[in-house]
Amino acid sequence: MKSASSFVPIDHTADVGYRLFAPTLAELFVVAGRALFDAITELDSIQPQYARKIAVGAEDVEALLVAWLSELNFFCITEFELYNEFAIEVISATTVRATVRGEKIDPARHVIQTEIKAVTYHELFVREVKDGWEAQVIFDV
């Protein structure tokens, strides 16, 4: 039986990092998106009212994870959007297409804990393990 998806914060002196686990690569990207918005705000405070299409490509699966999270963060910063639903439509080691759902930041309801400057390659890994996929990603805050 495959394990459930999860994300666990890791301790890093200056930045914020997560270990991610999921039964499939698609679900790993979902859990990565949730970890990103967990760092930014309280996930439960986001209502999936609005949909945005995301499509990114990269050289390999690790760079793809960085590109995916960077694109979500870009719309968070420039369009003030928060997401908590991530429907992956197409995924390979070099491409991901998805519809993400969320809403505009409402200061009355959303506590913004931090701004993510960037998704880093530092100590980044994405690997297939016995019962699914495992990854680590560190955000510069």
């Binding site: 914060p9 301790d11 890093h12 002196t13 200056a14 930045d15 914020v16 930014i40 050289e59 690790e62 760079a63 590109a67 960077s70 870009f74 968070c76 910063i77 420039t78 003030f80 930041i105 506590v111 913004i112 804990q113 931090t114 701004e115 400057k117 960037a118 998704v119 880093t120 390659y121 530092h122 100590e123 980044l124 560190i138 510069d140 805050v141």
Partner: protein, 480 residues
């Protein structure tokens, strides 16, 4: 726990000998007392990793505020031969030209302390802070390009401050050879609404006073006196710089394969300085440097306006002259002598400050006899320091010194430590009035999360790379 072996070279200097694929040794400035914390982190390994990069000259250096960064350690300095070396966006950091401006007023502590709450509240209102904060200025693309090439001069031409203060900003607030054509549309989209904002994280604006003077001659040259009210502005290039770095880390990630560079950490990705990729990054990075110079110039202007309003005196009686502004996340071409040989090197300072000594041509005329001022912010509850560059920096550290206290606790640990406490009230009881955009930011930045900045500056002082001039203590602070 790090397994790195260090050789002691002096009471404040340690070396990781060149080994494996390292192209130079790594050197860490720290006292024995500080070393325990430094070794508990991965930062020494990161200093050793930097020594793997092609064209490194001398040593991979770490200042006493070294802590675990991404790729390069924070507090890292590395110089690369301009002909055979590399440029690495990770060696500059995401917040390109994050830096510090120090302004000194004509006011004394007793004039300002009774009004500090009002002053902090008004500053919080007048200087946009916090996550996703938008500036008060709406820029068209053409104006953004002017910001990218003119830096602080753009701000001054648009009414934010005075031309005379340019001399007191590193590079006179305007980095040459900035190339807006090398900046992505995304960087423009992130940066355009954020010009004139403090941002979040460890960025702040602090009102303080001169608490102690260590070097009377230098303090006089800088115009600092006991109990004088000062302002420190700490911020950078906001989303503009973050995106430039992100874009070019993507470019360099491919360039390392193209140029056959082997790296111990993917985040160290780099490219030969003379490659098209390297030249493009330099052009774009310099745009971000200028964005940050303009940003701090605008915030300085609003700070003066706020003081004038709250203290109820005309700006000319307030003062708030720019003492100096330094950059502490930057890469620049500089002339240095190494092993008796004059050479041009690309000095990467990531969480490190330029510290040119007296007589250096790039030190402002007014400070020629004492050296370039260096501004070292501490944590919210204790103190900050004003230093001056010393001769040892040219001999040992490519004209560099430390940049701050350096974190001792992760943000998660800091938040846990702050749990159940009211940090704002604790600080208020010490006479420090703090306002933040969110409670989370204040908790993450609790004083205990940082090393004692006095250990950091003392190490640099005894190493002879910079000298202590004055200690500043906080009265009030706004945080992103």
């Amino acid at each position: 726990m790090s397994e790195i072996k260090l050789n002691k070279l002096a009471g404040y200097l340690w070396e990781i000998p060149q080994q494996g694929n390292m192209l130079a040794p790594a050197r860490i400035y720290a006292t024995e007392k500080m070393l325990k914390d430094i070794l508990a982190d991965n930062a020494p390994q990161q200093a050793a990793n930097v020594a793997h990069l092609p064209g490194i000259v001398g040593y991979s250096l770490a200042m006493p505020d070294i802590h675990w960064g991404y790729g390069f350690p924070i507090g890292g300095v590395a110089a690369f031969d301009v002909n055979s070396g590399v440029i690495s966006p990770g060696g500059v950091g995401y917040d390109i030209n994050c830096g510090v401006r120090l302004m000194a007023s004509d006011l004394t502590r007793d004039e300002v302390e009774p009004k500090i709450q009002d002053l902090v509240k008004t500053l919080f209102h007048n200087v946009p802070t916090g996550v996703g904060s938008s500036g008060k200025v709406k820029l068209a693309q053409k104006e953004l390009e002017e910001v990218m090439t003119k830096g602080a001069l753009w701000a001054i031409k648009n009414g934010y401050g005075d031309k005379d203060e340019l001399e007191f900003i590193e590079e006179r607030g305007q980095m040459d050879d900035a190339d807006p054509a090398k900046v992505s549309k995304k960087a423009g989209d992130r940066g355009r609404p954020q010009l004139g904002t403090l941002g979040s994280g460890n960025h702040f604006l602090e009102v303080g006073y001169v608490a102690q003077i260590f070097n009377a001659r230098a303090a006089e040259a800088l115009g600092l006196f006991q109990d004088q009210i000062t302002v420190i502005i700490h911020c950078g290039s906001r989303g503009f710089g973050h995106q430039v770095c992100e874009d070019y880390i993507g470019v360099m990630d491919k360039a390392v394969h193209k140029y056959g560079i082997t790296l111990p950490d993917r985040q160290l990705c780099c490219t030969p300085i003379n490659s098209p990729e390297g030249q493009s990054y330099l052009g774009a990075m310099r745009c971000a440097i200028n964005f940050a110079f303009a940003n701090r110039q605008m915030i300085a202007h609003w700070t003066r306006e706020t003081f004038s309003k709250v203290i109820n005196k005309a700006p000319k009686y307030i003062g708030l002259r720019t003492i100096y502004e330094v950059a502490h996340n930057i890469a620049k071409m500089e002339d240095h002598i190494f092993d008796g040989k004059q050479m041009t090197v690309c000095v990467h300072r990531k969480g490190a400050t330029r510290a040119f000594p007296a007589g250096h041509p790039q030190v402002p005329e007014a400070y020629q006899e004492v050296g370039q001022p260096v501004l070292i912010p501490g944590d919210m509850g204790r103190y900050s320091y004003v230093l001056i560059g010393a001769e040892g920096s040219m001999e040992q550290t490519f004209g560099s010194t430390c940049h701050g206290a350096g974190r001792a606790m992760s943000r998660n640990k800091a938040k846990k430590t702050a749990q159940g406490r009211n940090i704002t009230r604790e600080l208020a009881e010490k006479g420090i009035y703090v306002m933040g955009a969110s409670r989370g930011t204040i908790d993450e930045e609790i004083p205990e999360a940082y090393k004692d900045v006095s250990d950091v500056v003392d190490t640099c002082h005894y190493a002879g790379i910079s000298r202590k001039v004055a200690q500043l203590r906080p009265l009030g602070c706004i945080k992103g």
